[in-house]
Amino acid sequence: MTTITARGLVQTFHTGQGKKKVPVRAVDGIDLDVAEGEVVGFLGPNGAGKTTTLRMLTTLLKPTAGTATVAGYDVATQPVQVRRSIGYCSQVGSTFSGAYAGDEVVDHGRLYGMSKADAVAKGHDLFDRLQLDGLWRRMPKNMSGGQKRRLDIAMALIHSPSLVFLDEPTTGLDPQARANLWQHIADLRSEQGATVFLTTHYLDEADALADRIVIIDKGRIVASDTSDNLKAQVAGDLVSVEVATDEQVAVARDKLASIAETVEVAGRVVSGRVSRAAKVVPGLLRDLESSGATLEAIEVARPTLDDVFLTLTGRSLRDAEAAAEAADEGAAQDHTDEGVPA
């Protein structure tokens, strides 16, 4: 059973000053299928069209072209039915900083047609589950970043939707708060059986949470698969060898070249991609030893989603993001390589 089906989804914005309006295709023909119960990570750099796609799927923005069916209803012609079925947690938040958290959640539930008693009961239940107990009469302005995000998730879940959209759920959170939120997002499916569609520009987030990763770049979907399958598309593991002296670099390069397609040399570090590193690296080490090379360091890194992005788009996710992130020094991207120190 698919719960999201999009075909040829397009959103064209008009930018520019005065009479010279330049049409920009922010989302440029997207096809998407999400099955019930799936957790899908929508990954791409800032400005790739993630939020715009999300806003079309949540009826906040009318598609310029194409169709989308969400929870069985057409987003363009049956927006009210779509809204009843989905929960949406936007990037900017959902509650007024000077209102009581509990009041905001209850009022939100009542806009979905819940009775006050039901909304209060469900609200307290969500506060317990999301570790917000005791914060019912706290104002969001007096909450931590992590608490506020969990409150936004409580808002999105108040009417028990079967499909939840989360837009950049952990942006701006510190590492502990992120890890905590990831657990709650994982619980959305395991405890509440919800389908989760989340956008992120964090590789580790998509890796940690999503069954399937959909990569978007410049308004187009460039890949859609499991994290492991995407990584398998990249040609092998990255093996880097550092030798003790400059004379040994040539030897190391020759030995690595015999098992890797292309070899790069940077100073005394020689690196190349090999398939199935675990099988060939012991042999490489023996070869190097017998030819008299002394190793300072060896590192074997599994491909990362960043490598996948680079392979698919010709630039790294970080480069694609550099301009947008330059101003935002707080959002340091912690990139987890599965490095094997020697």
Binding site: T58, T59, L60, L61, S90, S94, T95, D103, R110, G113
Partner: protein, 251 residues
């Protein structure tokens, strides 16, 4: 329709609760008419003496309309704050009627205006304003409709520009001619002929004249007609604008 009423009352309740939690604004809002009446009213004495009639019956209607317009013009500011925090988007992703999201906020503004109007009229009566029951009711109703129009327009404008930095100068730009050409402080007919003619082009001048006429118990058909006509027209246009902005995607 029931959904609309249900939804708009939820929005209204939420707004009212937040307003009452910040009583400073409520108190300032209530004090405003009192201060105008007590501190500005006496200044008018010599001028009003030349016009004849009760000075508070001249003055209170102008103050009433001023309250209706100027308080409501600022309604949009709180909407920008809510929009920035994602509240509007969160409300728009619920199945609630879009018009209810606007009307719930208008009820709050109109309730505040009604309370202010009652304080102003009550105080005016205490100070010796003529008592024309029907006229006062008509004047207050016109004021509330005009206030609703201004609040709806302010909300629509706020959600269009989404910036206090744009809002503030534009409100000043609009308020200046309104204040000078609608006879809020003194009737326009009191001034030079050319100024009186010029003021005819200011819709709110006709509303002020009608409210003032009603307070005097002088139901001149032409004056009332123009006043009521403009009030209803402004109200209809502003509500249409407001609802269409809340309905529009990407608002």
């Amino acid at each position: 329709m029931t959904t609309f009423l249900h939804d708009s009352f939820i929005v209204f309740n939420r707004q009212l609760r937040m307003n009452l939690r910040n009583p400073a604004w409520v108190i300032i809002g209530m004090l405003q008419p009192v201060l105008y009446l007590l501190l500005f009213g006496p200044l008018l004495e010599p001028v009003i003496a030349q016009l004849g009639g009760n000075k508070y019956t001249w003055f209170v209607p102008g103050m009433l309309v001023q309250l209706g317009i100027f308080g409501a013009f600022f309604a949009g500011f709180s909407l920008i704050g809510e929009w920035r925090e994602g509240v509007i988007e969160a409300e728009r992703v619920t199945p609630a009627s879009r018009a209810a999201l606007l009307f719930g906020r208008l009820y709050r503004d109109l309730l505040q205006l009604l309370v202010q109007a009652l304080i102003l009229v009550g105080l005016g009566l205490v100070l010796g304003m003529d008592f024309n029951g029907a006229g006062i009711v008509l004047g207050v109703v016109l004021t509330i409709l005009l206030g609703g129009a201004c609040a709806a327009a302010s909300n629509a404008f706020a959600l269009t520009v989404k910036s206090e930095d744009v809002m503030a100068p534009v409100i000043n730009l609009v308020m200046m001619p309104v204040l000078l050409l609608s006879g809020i402080l003194l009737p326009m007919s009191f001034g030079a002929g050319w100024l009186d003619r010029l003021a005819d082009f200011m819709p709110i001048r006709h509303v002020v004249d009608a409210v003032r006429g009603a307070f005097f118990g002088d139901y001149d058909v032409s004056t009332l007609g123009w006043g009521v006509g403009w009030t209803v027209a402004l109200f209809g246009a502003a509500i249409w604008w407001g609802v269409s902005v809340f309905r529009r995607e990407n608002a």
